[in-house]
């Protein structure tokens, strides 16, 4: 588990997760913990990386070529939002 501040924008949250995935950790899910997001990662063998991840609000169009891997509440810019995580297919 790791914490991501709920004060960050969705783009900043996405980049924080992408950086963590660059260390061979795969985003699994997220939960709300007070004003922050409590994010769950799966450890991959060092040197293995998950495919590209994107986050969008649930109201946004699905990115081309990506599959939905998670949907749920996240604190984004201080507000609770319904967010979808997408993974490059």
């Amino acid at each position: 588990m790791a914490t991501i501040s709920g004060a960050l924008t969705l783009t900043q949250i996405e980049s924080a997760i992408q950086f963590e995935e660059g260390k061979s950790n795969e985003f699994i899910s997220s939960g709300v913990s007070g004003k922050n997001n409590l994010v769950d990662f799966k450890k991959l063998p060092l040197g293995e990386f998950p495919k590209e991840l994107k986050l969008t609000l649930s109201t946004a169009a699905a990115p081309d070529g990506f599959s939905k891997i998670w949907q749920g509440a996240m604190i984004v810019s201080g507000k609770t939002e319904d967010v979808i995580a997408w993974r490059l297919a």
């Binding site: 588990m1 790791a2 914490t3 991501i4 949250i13 950086f19 660059g22 990662f41 060092l46």
Partner: protein
């Protein structure tokens, strides 16, 4: 759990009050029921539709005067394993129910506090907990709120359940293998040890090991759980992270690279960088890499010669 332990749990629950569940409900949130409760509880063994407790006590009676290696003892072990599994699964089901109720009443302090009472109850019952309850109550509230956040209402509940059931299965395999060579007393003791796999303390141990793996920590005095805080990163830093990770993966698999790893550890400011053992050096590098933040990437690149 012995009779004194059961009594302690009841006392804890009773003295503190609970708005979340009734007294009877609350007891089921403690550890799964003890497999060897007091005699009075055994009298409920024939309640239909419940866990297979009647078969267990019948097997116990058949086995208790038998010699080592008797088939009755193996049957007793078999029934004990079945009863333990039933209790364990029902316990997790009850915890799931509590989680759903909390989802509805998340901001209700009284409910959270009441859950705290229940969680206090499912801790290992020792007399000191009863006598010390008043003194530690305030500090324990912190543990409960954080434990609730991290386990009961967090994304890890299913994982912990899965791990506990896996551990129970491993214990079962060993117990079944050993059963033919056990005396009744040994079998009785081993079943109690087997049931201890599915307890609050085991869940807490699992959480601790999970926290260790993710660099999160629990303050031993307050119980507060602190997880690593992730920072936003630029596109370049994300790309650098992958390059660095690939390089670290190669280094930590090459046992001839101990000295190079020590040099890198020193360059990135690791607290220890004079390992004589490759595995320890590699582990230290992997650990440092796990904590790498976006702002650290330039330092890592320089240390790795990238």
């Amino acid at each position: 759990m012995n009779a004194r332990g059961s009594f302690a749990l009841v006392v804890i629950g009773t003295i503190s009050g609970c708005a979340l569940t009734s007294g009877a409900d609350r007891q089921s949130l403690y550890n799964p029921p003890g497999i060897h409760p007091p005699t009075a509880v055994q009298s409920d063994a024939n309640i239909p539709g419940q866990v297979p407790i009647a078969q267990y006590y019948a097997a116990l009676k058949n086995a208790k005067d038998e010699a080592k290696g008797a088939s009755e003892i193996s049957d007793f072990v078999d029934k004990g394993i079945g009863l333990t599994s039933a209790y364990c699964l029902r316990w997790f089901q009850r915890l799931d129910e509590v989680q759903r109720r909390l989802d509805l009443q998340e901001k209700d302090f009284n409910v959270v506090r009441s859950l705290g009472t229940a969680l206090l109850g499912i801790g290992k019952a020792i007399p000191n907990w009863v006598t010390g309850y008043g003194a530690v109550n305030t500090a324990y509230s912190g543990i409960v709120e954080n434990f609730n956040e991290a386990v009961l209402a967090g994304p890890t509940t299913a994982k912990i359940k899965s791990q506990v059931l896996d551990m129970l299965q491993q214990s079962e395999i060993t117990l079944r293998r050993d059963a033919p060579g056990l005396t009744f007393a040994q079998a009785y003791s081993r079943i109690e040890l087997h049931t201890d796999t599915c307890t609050y303390s085991t869940v807490r141990d699992l959480l601790d090991s999970s926290l260790n793996a993710t660099k999160a920590t629990r303050d031993p005095k307050t119980g507060k759980i602190t997880t690593e805080s992730l920072q936003p990163a630029s596109a370049a830093q994300i790309a650098d992270a992958k390059t660095i990770t690939t390089r670290v993966a190669v280094l930590t698999k090459d046992s001839t690279k101990r000295d190079e790893i020590n040099r890198i550890l020193k360059a990135i400011g690791a607290p220890k960088f004079d390992f004589t053992d490759f595995d320890k050096a590699a582990s230290a590098l992997a650990s440092a890499h796990a904590g790498m933040k976006p702002d650290d990437t330039q330092k890592w690149k320089a240390a790795l010669g990238i």
